[in-house]
Subunit: 926 residues, 2 copies
């Protein structure tokens, strides 16, 4: 292997000038045009070649911004070095020496020169910012001789501070000497001098520290600290290259999905000093406010200080506005530079600067991090300033960032200082602060009657907890997953929620909960719940109020609407949800779950009567009572959605969900039996007996309805076929409501949807029932309304036989929760609390398929359904109404599959509008 | 519509001869060549044109077999008649008259002629034999004048018996007069005459009956009985045509899937009389023994009697062998005819004959019905006689007929006279007779210790009932469906079983069961269960012993093996099953369910210890105890299957299946609490407390393992990933067994199968674990065995991502029970007792998808899996090991999809061999 042997020319001192090799491995910052030419004019390739930091330094140089002269050794050189068994490629070192010469000339200072010594910094700089890469080495070029001479001009304190920093950084970063050893010397010195900070150490102290550092260096490396500036430079360059293959860097790239063959560049730059004098200083600033997005410089600086001092927080920094007052010319220059950079990068900038004896130098610039609010504000401003296009603005804001405007958030500043007491699944975003209530009735009473803010806490929630959940600020459960009842209801109603907090031990009898051994929270105590991050705090934390009507957001969303081709509808069961959905921009109701209306407190007894009915006539009576209630709800929906489609799904859940739980009944009955032994009066016994009879009736029905696997049981259309009167009642309520509204002049567009279809014949049966009732009602009412008849596609067989099904159904709506469940054979009720989480942790599944649609499996079924369905009926309307309808990556898939719309909970409508626009832009390669 | 008007020429008497129309609607029996020419030489088309009966009569005529002369009016005529609004097509009636002339000439008898009158019969005859079509009308041509004259020659008794029959048949069949009215006259007459049978009635009686019949005819039809033979003929012809569209006929065709446009033919044939004299007679005979298949004539006859008398059973019939003695010439002639017909039709014949004054006439021949045993015997004999090919023999025997040889059957003769007490699902064929035992321990004790024959009766069965089921003759449950635990185990072990007998009320406490209000069966009472038909009888019915080693069956199956391309493997968990499977012809083990070994009485405690283990070390201890037991089982399997592949599936069911049921534990604990209040001694209380603690430990674990939908829960590979030590123990047991056997010289071919895979990464994890252990064991043992690693495809996602999965798996085995469950979203545990049965009854589903694979949905997934899997790995081995593997129509699908093999329970192996041969023949268009 010739590559493994050390080419003599490459590492020996060059003197003789250029190698025979033509590859240019080293670019001066001012040679940016050459780098660009080499990269074929593509800025992305320049970044790949010079690394992000190097490319930006070169770029700033070209823009005429004051950058200390320097050069970049390319990533290609790094790759060649590593490929050749850690040997510089031919010619590289010679080019680096030439570059040093060029900056010597530019500065009028020379490496090792005693009168005018050149000091440089050496920094790594890959294409992407990466933890684990080599740290900075400052002051390369310093040595004993230079130091001695320099003292004459600048005094010993400054010089030996520079020198000891070089030895410490070079020693630890390049040579692997443990940094703690150096730090121990300084802290010993501080103790000896009786001072508490480094700045208080004297020139003598630093001279002594420098000497000790050289000893340490020798002890660990078994050689003297190199006095030759070129040797310092070469070793630092090599250390950067090697750090590309360090363990931490490799691990990070694996985790972040960054390719391993990019390599890192090396940036060598002339040193400037913010700590040289009183008219020197250093700071960092954003070109706009990173919290609010306001167009103004925002940042901090320190005079007569180094960057490290700003970070270490030893001295209080000053706001950048003070610079305007103290050094107006410098401030004006900086402001102009910031504008120039923004214009150039078309983005808000995060800049590092140093003032060296009254002269401003830029050391780095990069796109600035910012809050969601600022992101939206800046994007919209920049469009209006002509910096970027609407498409770019839309693309720049992540859909999830919209959440910020929809839900109260915990005050970030306060949260920083708090320690969470527990962590669970972040199933519904936003912050909620309130007192703990352990059951729905208490929650409702406290909230409604006493006006208290309540967090409802339960092991898990059930349909008859909904009234308490609605009254509460937020929801917290110890069990359940991302699609548990609590999560679904919370998202539906925009209630912040954290579920599945397994360390939470809830004692419903004692009315309190434990977390570990130390934390005890009684009912009525304050807690704060962050549904965005899934953490729980003790006490009452301050929140920031959301504003969906933020004008910047509204403008951005209106641009998103111009771009997107996918419709965005909402899932809404009640008129008030529909109104909100419309306000948030929904273009239709994609799912009204009729059974949710059944769970209302005053309706449950009627529903239970219907289920408990032993004779058809009793059942009919209950259904007759439900009819006007359902009709009323539907009328509200139609009015709210005047002119837009409303998809109403017939009853879906298994009937046992409307009855008390089996375990509860068995326990109650056992308890009653025990209690009855202690009764003495006849009336006590009679009351107890009556109670036993009622519970036993319930138990009997619950046992009859009990199923091994209710998710695969008698629900959806199966129920509709077994209880035709229920279907008929619901259809009648829909059409009576539609006719009533149409008579008022409302433009009603009802679409009746059948759930859980697995065979086309089920649809035939339901269609016949529906058409009969619809015709009947329209004749009674003397008015005709147009309607559609369609089905959920939520069972694999429905997707696989979509061609047949589309022969009957005029629309499809994917129920991807159920479809995921059956396609994976995973029960969402169980798995998210069980093996599924282990699968995700172990990387067996990359993502929770209940959070984002699994494109390979579930997506393939969807594709089959869309293709076969449209082949059978070209104008088939296809949407999605599962929980995935509000998930950006699922929305991207839906766009790709050519769906007509996605439907999600009202609170996710703005997110979906943006995500749909992103999908459209991506599709157009933008 | 000109078709609807009545063409004058068609119905009026013809006289003037042929119509201008050329279509030939009427064929004399002897004109068979013309019919054949018209049908383009295709016999199937001749049968469609002339109907089955007509075609066979024509055919016999051509073969020179004595058939009374006659003719057939074609099905085309029928269709034209119905299409024209019940009008004969032009020319048809004229052709019928010509045909009458022709048979008048042939017989030397003429319609209405007083000296030599012609009497004919009229019978319907469609392509397929069909209930609901018109019955026979005999003696057309008889009238007052003919009768009066005929009396002179044959005496009045014979004549008026003929005449009254004509009036009765014509009246009831053609004119719709209620037959009961005619019958009432005869029975009144019998009473008046003081006799008990018709044969005892005198000539005067019949004369008087004839007169009353004519009166009845007139009363109901408001017209005289037609004296014109042509009118009789025309009306009878029309009646046959009309009966094609009778309600019963239409219903039957709908049910049997017979097209409605076939039409029926009309057969007119000269009368012959078996009741004319002592050398006349009538009978039916099969060309071979229909029960045993022995090659000998089998049948009955009566001298001086009519066909009806044979059927009515008024006189004892004689066996056909008596004819050989009484009329040897006739017998010889008949025997020759039978042979000729068999040779012609290449099938065993069922013939009707009449001897009219010493002359033999054949009135009908058709393929004879026979038992399964006879079917096999005859098919094999006919191949050896050169009558049919092996392929034809194989094709002729239905796969389900093989069941006959595998299971005892109730004696058909006895069953005929018994009334079943209940009916359920026939989930495992064969008859079982025994005394009722209501639990597994009792069943086992009675069977093993007392040598009693036992039927185990349970509401439903669970894994810990298996030892009782194995000891029992048969199984009966009141709940559960076709794939319930009881059904699966019963089929697996060839135990006859009837499940889901909902009218059965089992009182486990009182040790008895009720059916309705009248039937009470105590434990220990005899019952008989027919798993072939699903019915249950009270008492001890006789059974017929099966014989799988029937030489004819063995020969037939060996031919099937030559034909089929699909392999037939067996599901076997124990060495004894594997041996039986091999004896039945299995070419491998397609599924060994390792967990079944866990259910053995002595192993359950160890398994429970493993599950209840709170520390890894306790679990390890339990696993160490299981290892040698599993290894021993596997060694047995490998030895039994020396030289053949053995697929061993790692643990599949959820762990809770090995623990007591939740409901049971809750109930027990509640009961214990109540009971404890009555305890007085300390030791009583201590014992009870200990029991509470044990139960509570179990309860805690059961609750922890409890899942809403266990079918979609933590089982299969998910369990293997969560408890790697369990996987490792099983793999170690497999490889230790394989190495041990290999050292003995056994050719071991282990294949390790992962259940419930839904993502390729699950396989990666399991493959790594397996390879490590396998390597380890083989190194320890110093021997290498070849093995395969593969997976079940039983989750839709596995099928949809089969390409990826085949990158890891070397074989696929479809688990179509689970695949059906998830593809339909139907829980097999619940649905077969619930809505699924309603779906099948209502025709929403044509078939139970758990009995036969749903080709459209599940089949499509299988096709995707086979196609994508083989694209990724061309030599991928693909089979099926679900319950469907033994179902003929599913086997057909598997053949079509190109599977390598089907695997089914040992008892279904012979059936599958035959079904696979059928599939291959069908595929080749044979």
């Amino acid at each position: 292997m010739t590559m493994a042997t050390k080419p003599a020319t490459a590492v020996s001192a060059p003197k003789n000038g250029r190698s025979t090799k033509d590859v240019k491995y080293v670019y001066l910052f001012r040679e940016v045009e050459q780098a660009e030419a080499y990269a074929g004019g593509q800025w992305e390739k320049v970044r790949a070649l010079l690394g992000g930091k190097g490319a930006n330094l070169a770029d700033m140089t070209r823009l005429g911004i004051p950058v200390p002269p320097g050069f970049t050794v390319t990533t290609e050189a790094c790759n060649a070095y590593l490929a050749a068994g850690e040997n510089f490629p031919p010619g590289m070192w010679e080019q680096e020496l030439e570059a040093i010469k060029a900056i010597e000339e530019a500065n009028g200072r020379w490496f090792g020169d005693l009168a005018k010594p050149l000091l440089v910094s050496c920094r790594s700089g890959a294409k992407f910012s990466m933890p684990g890469m080599m740290d900075t080495v400052l002051n390369i070029g310093m040595n004993d001789a230079v130091a001695e001479k320099m003292v004459e001009r600048t005094g010993p304190r400054f010089v030996y501070d520079l020198y000891r920093r070089l030895i410490q950084m070079f020693g630890s970063v390049v040579m692997g000497v443990p940094d703690e050893v150096f730090e121990a010397v300084i802290s010993t010195r501080r103790k000896e001098a009786g001072v508490s900070t480094d700045t208080e150490l004297s020139a003598d102290d630093w001279l002594s520290v420098t000497r000790r550092f050289k000893e340490i260096y020798k002890t660990f490396t078994r050689e003297e600290f190199p006095q030759d500036p070129y040797e310092q430079l070469k070793k630092a360059t090599e250390a950067v290259f090697k750090s590309w293959n360090g363990k931490r860097a490799i691990d990070y790239r694996n985790a972040a999905g960054i390719p391993h063959d990019l390599g890192t560049a090396v940036n060598i730059q002339t040193m400037v000093y913010g700590n040289f004098s009183e008219d020197s200083g250093t700071g960092v600033a954003m070109s706009r406010n990173a919290s609010t997005g306001e167009p103004e410089l925002e940042g901090d600086f320190l005079m007569n200080a180094q960057g490290e001092d700003v970070v270490a927080g030893i001295r209080a920094t000053q706001p950048i506005s003070d610079l305007k007052r103290d050094m107006p010319t410098i401030y004006a220059e900086f402001e102009k530079i910031a504008q120039k950079l923004e214009k150039h990068y078309r983005n808000m900038q995060d800049m590092e600067f140093t003032i060296d004896r009254g002269k401003l130098w830029l050391l780095q610039t990069r796109d600035g991090k910012r809050t969601a609010q600022a992101e939206v504000h800046i994007a919209v401003d920049m469009v209006e300033e002509g910096l970027i296009t609407k498409e770019e603005a839309v693309k720049r804001v992540k859909p999830t960032q919209v959440d910020f405007f929809l839900h109260p958030q915990l005050d970030a500043a306060v949260v920083k200082e708090q320690k969470p007491i527990a962590k669970g699944l972040n199933v519904s975003p936003g912050a909620a602060v309130g007192i703990v209530a352990f059951d729905a009735d208490t929650a409702e009473r406290w909230a409604k009657e006493e006006g208290k803010k309540v967090i409802m806490v339960r092991p898990e929630t059930k349909p008859d907890d909904v009234h308490g959940m609605l009254a509460a600020q937020g929801i917290l459960t110890s069990r359940g997953g991302r699609t548990s009842h609590a999560a679904l209801v919370a998202r539906q109603f925009g209630k912040p929620a954290v579920v599945g907090v397994s360390e939470l031990e809830i004692d419903l009898v004692g009315r309190r909960m434990h977390i570990g051994e130390d934390i005890l929270i009684e009912e009525g105590d304050w807690i704060s719940v962050d549904g965005t991050t899934g953490v729980v705090f003790q006490g009452q934390l301050p929140t920031v109020v959301p504003d969906i009507n933020n004008p910047y957001l509204l403008k951005l969303l209106s641009w998103a609407d111009e771009i997107r081709t996918l419709g965005v509808w909402a899932n809404a069961d009640y008129p008030r949800d529909a109104e909100r959905a419309r306000e948030y921009g929904a273009q239709g109701i994609g799912l009204c779950r009729t059974e949710h209306m059944f769970f209302e407190t005053e309706r449950m007894p009627i529903v239970q009567k219907m289920i408990m009915a032993k004779h058809a006539v009793d059942r009919k009576e209950a259904l007759d009572q439900l009819l006007p209630l359902q009709r009323g709800d539907f009328e509200g929906l139609f009015r709210a959605m005047d002119g837009l489609p409303v998809i109403i799904r017939l009853i879906d859940p298994p009937l046992h969900e409307f009855l008390p739980a089996y375990d509860e009944l068995v326990q109650d009955l056992a308890d009653l039996k025990v209690r009855m032994q202690h009764y003495h009066t006849l009336s006590e016994i009679d009351t107890a007996l009556a109670e036993v009879r009622v519970k036993q009736d319930y138990l009997e029905r619950v046992v009859a309805l009990k199923e091994q696997n209710p998710m695969l049981g008698t629900r959806g259309v199966r129920l509709g076929i077994l209880i035709p009167d229920l279907t008929k009642m619901q259809v009648r309520a829909i059409f009576e409501a539609a006719c009533n509204c149409a008579k008022e002049g409302v433009d009603v567009q009802p679409e009746v949807m059948i759930p859980l279809t697995c065979h086309v014949n089920e649809l035939h049966v339901q269609q016949t029932a529906l058409e009969t009732v619809a015709k009947e009602v329209m004749e009674e009412q003397g008015i005709t309304v147009n309607y559609k008849f369609g089905t959920m596609i939520e069972i694999p067989r429905a997707a696989l036989t979509a061609g047949e099904i589309a022969g009957v159904a005029q629309f499809f709506s994917f129920g991807t929760n159920d479809l995921t469940q059956t396609t994976f054979g995973i029960s969402r009720d169980d798995a998210e609390a069980g093996f599924l989480m282990a699968y995700i942790q172990d990387g067996i599944l990359k993502e929770n398929p209940f959070a984002s649609i699994d494109a390979q499996g579930v997506g393939r079924l969807m594709e089959i359904a869309v293709t076969d369905g449209r082949a059978a009926r070209p104008d088939l309307e296809v949407g999605i109404c599962g929980e995935h309808g509000g998930d950006p990556s699922s929305i991207r898939l839906c766009h790709k599959l050519g769906l007509n719309y996605v439907s999600c909970s009202p609170f996710r409508v703005p997110i979906a509008r943006l995500a749909a626009a992103h999908a459209a832009l991506e599709d157009n390669g933008r």
